[in-house]
């Protein structure tokens, strides 16, 4: 027992030692976290192999060229390839930070990479800092890690003058043109209010005011009508006079300029100058914003480097999303939060909370010796998860498995839901999503609508007719003889119509769904026969549809409704002579998941005659592409807690060590 404990503690401490991971540096309020797992990647492919690969060589020669250096290995970049690299972002109402955390192995090597011309970085202790040109980003590093941050100020924040005023920033809009065109006091009043609302006193560019002053006298005399306008706006004057005289004069410029519409040049002159002033001020404000962003970025970078704070590891949703086998991961905190944080920019829609009920999102990429796999997950609110659980509480009818022929199957698709639960839960989900979207006013109507739906539908009865599971399978291709018309010519080249036959290759499809109560379907069949839309032979019905390019048969057997285009397949199902073998992969996919999809390209190779693909050459390409494809499949996983998830996998063909190497070989082939 002791030994086991020691072993466990050893294992744990080893793990802790390993966990000197930069994730500790990601703050708990990070919004998105993306990870590239160096150790897992370079387990699949040694650094040496990477350097010698097509992609590696290209990368090294290109960077060597642009840096005027000679790199022989990606290790020359000084990055620690055995550790995780991170990207994360932080959102606030005023700034968005995009941040990268990269493990460093050899800081000197990295410095030589960025330090080619002039030494631009500063050093404090062992922390080195470099500011990107134009102050748009900061790079900070020491001997173990590198941190790169760029920040962008959010326009919406500074549109709120009260907030922006705190930082001495004004929201500036060019109004000269409008005020000129619309000779209205209302506009003036508005602009006056807008300006007075800003408590910060800013120097208004001098030229405009000077010009306005000069023009004041003659224009006032010329046009009495416009003077009224001036007077009206002038009425507002007393209220703000005490605050700032200069600004008022600036406002008055608009009516003055407008009144002078008889003399075009001065107006234009004023507008141009106003515009220049506006531009100048705009640039000043932008610079201020930039400086502010830089100040914030610097503080944030210092915090990451020197501060202590709670890391993202404490976030349960994040830590639960991790998988130590993944080679790359992405985690996005609650969609609802994302939505609400962007919401101000979307105006009223934001308040609706369209994303209510959706939590965090994650995606993981796996590569191993068999396949590529992308796994995605989405957290739901508890009530939503419960609803989905009820809907997903159905397994595919086991009898379906008898009708899949794995040796020949080109592919299949299946789903199984509890149709009764679906009909009951769907209106609720609808209400939850759209109820808030349409606003409180519509609540009653929606309630009424959903109730009406429940009233009209007898969920129980419907779920007996269509239980909610279905399978669509293509059990191979079949050649079929078809006739066609062509021409022959006699000795005089007179045309003679002749009928010839040729073989066409068509996929044999089979579609089935379970039904407990087939009375309705039987009635439909009876009606069909009566209207001669359906014919019957040995319990197999044929749909009489001239338009259809293939014959479609259907039948009901053992609580399953079958549709298919192969009469022989239908007959063998009817007489229990099916002799199909289902592979384990297919069986697992179908029986364990609520949704599955599979495409097996290999079973298509060489099955379609060249003539039907469009000649030998096209056929060759077609077949060789298919040969390179392994099984591609998708499946939904069972709901775990509040997490719904689905996987997409693509198997790699034999003869390749692992998916990463296969990917590299694909890129190399494509580049050739």
């Amino acid at each position: 027992m002791k030994k086991i404990l020691i072993a466990i503690s050893l294992f744990l401490s080893f793990n802790l030692a390993q966990a000197q991971d930069l994730v500790k540096k990601i703050p708990s309020n990070a919004f998105t976290v993306a990870t590239i797992k160096g150790d897992n990647i370079f387990k699949l492919m040694f650094v040496k192999d990477f350097n010698e690969s097509f992609v590696g060589k290209k990368l090294l020669t290109e960077t060597s060229k642009s840096m005027d250096k000679n790199f022989t290995s990606i290790e020359d970049f000084g990055i620690n390839l055995e550790k995780n690299m991170y990207y994360f972002n932080q959102l606030s109402d005023s700034i968005t930070y995009n941040c990268f955390l990269i493990p460093i192995k050899d800081a000197k090597k990295f410095e030589s990479l960025i330090n080619n011309k002039e030494k631009k970085f500063t050093q404090q202790g062992d922390i080195r800092t470099m500011v990107l040109p134009d102050s748009t980003g900061i790079i900070k590093w020491n001997n173990n890690m590198l941190y790169f941050v760029t920040g962008s100020i959010r326009g919406s924040f500074f549109a709120d003058s009260a907030k922006s005023a705190r930082y001495g920033i004004k929201d500036i809009r060019f109004q000269g043109e409008d005020a000129l065109a619309v000779d209205s006091t209302a506009v003036l009043a508005d602009s006056a209010v807008a300006v007075t609302a800003e408590p910060m006193i800013e120097e208004v560019a001098a030229p405009v005011i000077a010009k306005a002053k000069v023009q004041k006298k003659p224009t006032a005399k010329k046009n009495t009508k416009k003077i009224v306008a001036t007077k009206k706006s002038g009425k507002k004057k007393p209220a703000k006079k005490s605050k700032k005289a200069k600004n008022q004069e600036y406002e008055i410029i608009y009516p003055e300029a407008a009144s002078d519409s008889t003399g075009m040049t001065p107006v234009h002159g004023v507008v141009d100058e106003q515009y220049d002033a506006y531009q100048q001020e705009r640039a000043e404000q932008d610079l201020k914003k930039k400086r502010l962003a830089f100040t914030w970025m610097t503080a944030q970078a210092d915090q990451i480097f020197n501060g202590t704070y709670e890391s993202i590891e404490s976030n349960k949703s994040y830590s639960a999303s991790l998988d130590n086998k993944a080679i790359a991961e992405l985690w996005v905190s609650s969609l609802q939060d994302v939505y609400n944080s962007i919401a101000p920019e979307f105006g009223t829609y934001g308040k609706a909370g369209l994303m209510k009920g959706y939590g965090s999102l994650n995606a993981k990429l796996f590569m191993d010796n068999k396949s590529f796999r992308i796994s995605t997950g989405l957290e739901l609110a508890q009530n939503q998860a419960d609803a989905y659980k009820k809907i997903m509480n159905r397994k595919l009818n086991k009898n379906f498995l008898k009708y899949v022929n794995s040796e020949k199957a080109l592919g299949f698709m299946s789903y199984s839901i509890d149709s009764k639960a679906y009909l009951e839960e769907f209106p609720k989900l609808l209400k939850q999503t759209y109820g808030s979207f349409l606003g409180a006013k519509m609540d009653e109507e929606i309630e009424l609508g959903t109730d009406l739906l429940s009233l009209l539908l007898d969920e129980e009865a419907v779920s007996k007719v269509i239980k909610g599971d279905a399978l669509f399978v293509i059990n191979g291709l079949k050649s079929k003889e078809v006739t066609y018309t062509t021409y022959e010519y006699d000795d005089d080249y007179n045309q003679k119509e002749v009928t010839k036959t040729k073989n066409e290759t068509l996929p044999d499809f089979l579609f089935m769904f379970s039904s407990e109560d087939t009375r309705l379907i039987n009635k439909l069949i009876k009606y069909g026969i009566h209207k001669s839309m359906v014919t019957v032979q040995d319990n197999i019905y044929k749909i009489q549809e001239k338009k259809s390019p293939v014959d479609i048969y259907f039948m009901i057997k053992d609580g399953i409704v079958f549709f298919g285009n192969s009469l022989s397949e239908m007959q063998s199902i009817s007489t229990n002579q099916q002799n199909n073998k289902i592979s384990k992969l297919h069986k697992d996919l179908l029986s364990k998941n609520n949704f599955s999809f599979l495409f097996n390209a290999k079973n298509l190779v060489g099955k379609v005659p060249d003539s039907e693909i469009g000649g030998e050459e096209t056929a060759k390409k077609f077949n060789s592409t298919l040969e390179k494809m392994g099984n591609v499949y998708m499946k939904s996983n069972p709901i775990k807690g509040r997490l719904v998830s689905a996987d997409i996998s693509a198997e790699i063909p034999n003869g390749h060590e692992n998916a990463l190497k296969y990917l590299f070989s694909l890129i190399e082939n494509a580049a050739k």
Partner: protein, 226 residues
């Protein structure tokens, strides 16, 4: 998945082996010694009828809108109406068979050059700026029938812009032209053409691909015995 969606899925699967289809375009001209004659144009898609029938059930395929049966019939009627108004053209008829997907248009002309005007006008209507790429002449005095053809340069460049899978539609499509005469043919200049046993007809068969690519030229001068 409702039945309609299932049906669409099924149709899509039927069409998987790329949309390559065989179709025939046949042009027959029967010349009388006096310069008058008849034309029959045939488009026969029956070799691909399964695919065509599948396509007809879809709204669009590979990004192209699929015309309805009514629309095709209407276009055909418009073509007939247009021909009826054309100078020197009479006896215009059309047939359409939507089971085998075969359509024909036939008419009589006073002079073979009447056909040239039709192509010219059609090109103008479609706003295609092309020098008359195909023209027929019949010289009663010398009894020579000739067709001048020049591959439309724009056709090739436009064709090359198509996606590979769209180009594949033309794989296996053929063009046949047959000229019949009352007198015996003494010579036919196009090496790809064949003179019938009776020496009263000339046939030229080519793939539409070669025609578009300019690999084959259908120009021909046929000398009749005097």
């Amino acid at each position: 998945m409702n039945l309609k969606q299932l049906y669409k899925l099924l149709l899509f699967i039927l069409l998987i082996p790329v949309l390559s289809s065989c179709f025939e375009v046949v042009e027959e001209i029967s010349m009388k010694n006096d310069g008058t004659g008849d034309v029959v144009l045939t488009i026969n898609l029956s070799q691909s009828k399964t695919k065509v029938a599948s396509v007809m059930l879809l709204d669009s395929v590979q990004g192209y809108k699929v015309p309805s049966k009514q629309k095709i019939q209407q276009e055909l009627n418009e073509a007939v109406a247009y021909l009826k108004k054309s100078e020197g053209i009479s006896n215009v008829k059309s047939t359409s068979d939507f089971n085998n997907y075969i359509a024909t248009i036939s008419f009589s002309f006073k002079d073979v050059s009447n056909i040239n005007n039709i192509t010219k006008n059609i090109l103008a209507q479609q706003k295609i700026k092309a020098t008359n790429t195909s023209s027929y002449t019949y010289n009663k005095a010398t009894k020579t029938f000739s067709r001048k053809y020049q591959a439309i340069v724009t056709a090739k460049t436009e064709f090359n812009k198509l996606k590979a899978k769209d180009k594949a539609v033309f794989n296996g499509a053929t063009y046949t032209s047959i000229y019949r005469f009352e007198s015996l043919v003494t010579s036919s200049t196009n090496p790809a053409s064949n003179v019938s046993k009776s020496k009263k007809a000339v046939m030229l068969k080519s793939s539409i691909m070669d025609l578009i690519n300019g690999k084959i030229n259908v120009s021909n001068t046929i000398q009749l015995s005097k």
